[in-house]
Amino acid sequence: MFNVDVSNIFNVDQALGFFSGYSLEYFLSELSNYLLLVLFLIIFVRIKLIPKEYFIIWLIFLITPFFFNYLLFDPGYMGDQFRYMGVLNFVHQGADIPDKFLDKFGFSTVSTVYLVATIWSYVPIFSTMTVVSGAFINKFLLLIFYCYLYKIADKKLITFTLIIPSFLLYSSLSLREIPIIIFATLTLIFMYKKKYMLTFISILLLFFIKIQNVPGLIVIAVGYFLNLQKNYFRIALYSILLLAMSFILYDYYIPYLDLYKLAFHVEDGGGELEYTFNINDGYFAFLSDLIPSFIDFLIRPLPFEAGGLFGVAVFLEVLALYGFFVYFISRLDYFGIDKKTFLIFSIGLLATALLYGFIASNYGTFSRYRFSIYFPFIIFFIFLISENKRARN
């Protein structure tokens, strides 16, 4: 409805004249956004898309964007937000958008920022005049997404996911993590339901928003659609085949992985001279680089490495998450989940985590990417539990 005038401005990395944090205009803009979401929440509760008993939790969940940017940290700490919000304002005004298409690996692809901004631009929101507005757009997307989840999964368990600290954080920022999570989760659910076209559409959207999340999902799709979950032998064969392919196709995929790894390294402030990985050292050197970085990716930053309360919170959260995974795996029979199906999906999860483990190099990015990988699987596992509970009843 209200947006920042961006006509003629071509450099979207700038603050573009957004209202500054904690100015009265900021509150006018964001309080209006919040209350608009509350009105949608009331409507959804009245038409029973969201259970009435979770109204207060949602009310609190929707207000969290006020507590991260400007209060806990400066928006520049996650400076991408300005870019997303800048492009969103371009889209809203129908202005000529710079960097709409990018050359990636010899192909011209739509820019991820532009695609996310385009998706956001369809969300009815009061104002996009601060850098926090995108967070309310993300909240709206989640509101819609959870309406769907409430239909297919256990309501109480699904509502529990709203209080996961990282989820509160990333849903309160104007970043693409929420669209990534939504499309990755939908891909997993549609895959499980064997809805091929919907799987294809969601995986395609994910491809344009976050290509790194796609290979793992393709591994699952191939295995699951070929019914490899019928017996353990097939799964073992599939795993060996994947391993063999990673060896045979090394020369084809490693330049791309290397490019991403170097990009992350440079983005995190590392110089090209400090970058030690060399693709010419061969597959086994790649493995010896991959394994330690994968372990780092799983648990780091440790509390004494990150420093401050924030680091401790991140570490505790990841421990709790692994606790949940262990509990879930140990109770697969209890939940009535087919172990072979679970294995197929776990291979995909492992593949994605390995990929990120190899390319990511910064502790801050570890926690951010870990979250966008794990969270779709948490929701998916809850969905599996609900499906089996429903089937038993």
């Binding site: 409805m1 209200f2 003629n8 401005i9 071509f10 450099n11 700038q14 603050a15 573009l16 004249g17 009265l24 205009e25 006018l28 803009s29 309080l31 209006s32 209350l35 608009l36 509350v38 009105l39 009331i42 409507i43 009245r46 038409i47 029973k48 009435k52 109204f55 207060i56 400007y70 209060l71 806990l72 940290f73 000529d96 710079p98 960097d99 990018l102 050359d103 990636k104 009061f126 104002s127 005049m129 490019l259 991403y260 170097l262 990009a263 440079v266 090209e272 420093g307 401050g308 309360l309 924030f310």
Partner: protein, 296 residues
């Protein structure tokens, strides 16, 4: 079996939901109208209290191509962007650099922007952390900031100075500051453009001198007559470039319009303020009504 009328999309169900929503949204209509009226009056008073925002700007026109690029890196293919003016990229990067801010700080802009924080006893520009920043320092285990320095001026410049590019010519740039203190920022913009250019010239000069020294040495050592003459002509070319650097004008740009203050100030959109005030009061009352009726 459920009857059609009681199903989710049945007529009665839909009518029931609409009625209940209507009663929540428009319950106590008189009170709501009063609230909306009061908000509109508040919005009016707020608008009258706002300081007008003036635009201070200068127009620059790009005059020559340069080989300097900010995009030169091993990752340029990965992050390739549309071709934009590399000269301006460099100019804007330099404008936002701490070198420029340091020079302006030493020239006296510290007094202009941070006089409020000057502590005569300690001869520093004392910085008082807000509660949020102290909390932030505690959370992230950071050292608290004690005084303002040229980096604050750099951040201030970074936040203040924006630019526009003329779509049709692609060579015309408008550097501008939106401000409630136009006179103060006019002097900043004037010096900022000049100092930025001085730094670019200085860097260019170092590069040319190094190039000339190298070419002279090569020319001395080369026995081949043609090669020596080519090297000497290159030295002359660099000498010409060097002499151009001593000119008063900007290196890559000509100033089409010196920094000036726009006559007509800008204010926050009145419609935004009015509608936001009214909407917040109405939606707030809806939320309270809903909470009282269904939750509390």
């Amino acid at each position: 079996m459920k009857s059609e009328s009681s199903s989710f999309l049945g007529n009665e169900s839909i009518i029931g939901v609409i009625k209940s929503l209507f009663s929540i949204f428009f319950e106590k209509i008189k009170l709501n109208l009063i609230l909306v009226g009061v908000s509109a009056v508040l919005a009016f008073f707020y608008l009258t209290s706002l300081d007008p925002v003036y635009r201070v700007e200068t127009k620059l026109n790009e005059v020559q191509e340069s080989t300097v690029s900010l995009q030169d890196s091993a990752l340029s293919n990965l992050f390739s962007v549309q071709e934009s003016s590399k000269n301006f990229d460099m100019f804007f990067w330099q404008l936002n650099s701490s070198q420029v801010a340091k020079k302006l700080w030493d020239e006296g802009f510290n007094k202009v922007y941070y006089s409020f924080a000057y502590d005569e006893e300690g001869d520093i520009y004392r910085y008082n952390s807000t509660f949020g920043q102290s909390f932030n320092n505690f959370i992230f285990n950071l050292e608290p900031k004690r005084s303002y320095n040229h980096n604050d001026l750099k951040n201030l410049i970074n936040g203040k100075v924006n630019f526009l590019r003329d779509k049709s010519t692609k060579d015309l740039y408008i550097l501008y500051i939106d401000t409630t203190s136009p006179e103060r920022d006019l002097s900043l913009l004037k010096r900022l453009v000049k100092v930025t250019d001085e730094f670019i010239k200085e860097r260019k000069l170092i590069s040319i001198n190094a190039k000339m020294d190298f070419l002279r040495e090569e020319a001395k050592e080369t026995m081949d007559r043609d090669a020596r003459s080519s090297l000497n002509s290159l030295v002359r070319q660099n000498l010409l470039e060097k002499s151009l650097l001593s000119g008063d004008g900007l290196l890559y740009f000509e100033v089409i319009e010196e920094p000036f203050i726009h006559e007509n100030p800008r204010v926050t959109s009145p419609s935004f303020v009015f509608i936001a005030f009214v909407f917040i009061s109405w939606a707030g009352s809806v939320l309270i009504t809903y909470l009282r009726r269904y939750i509390v």
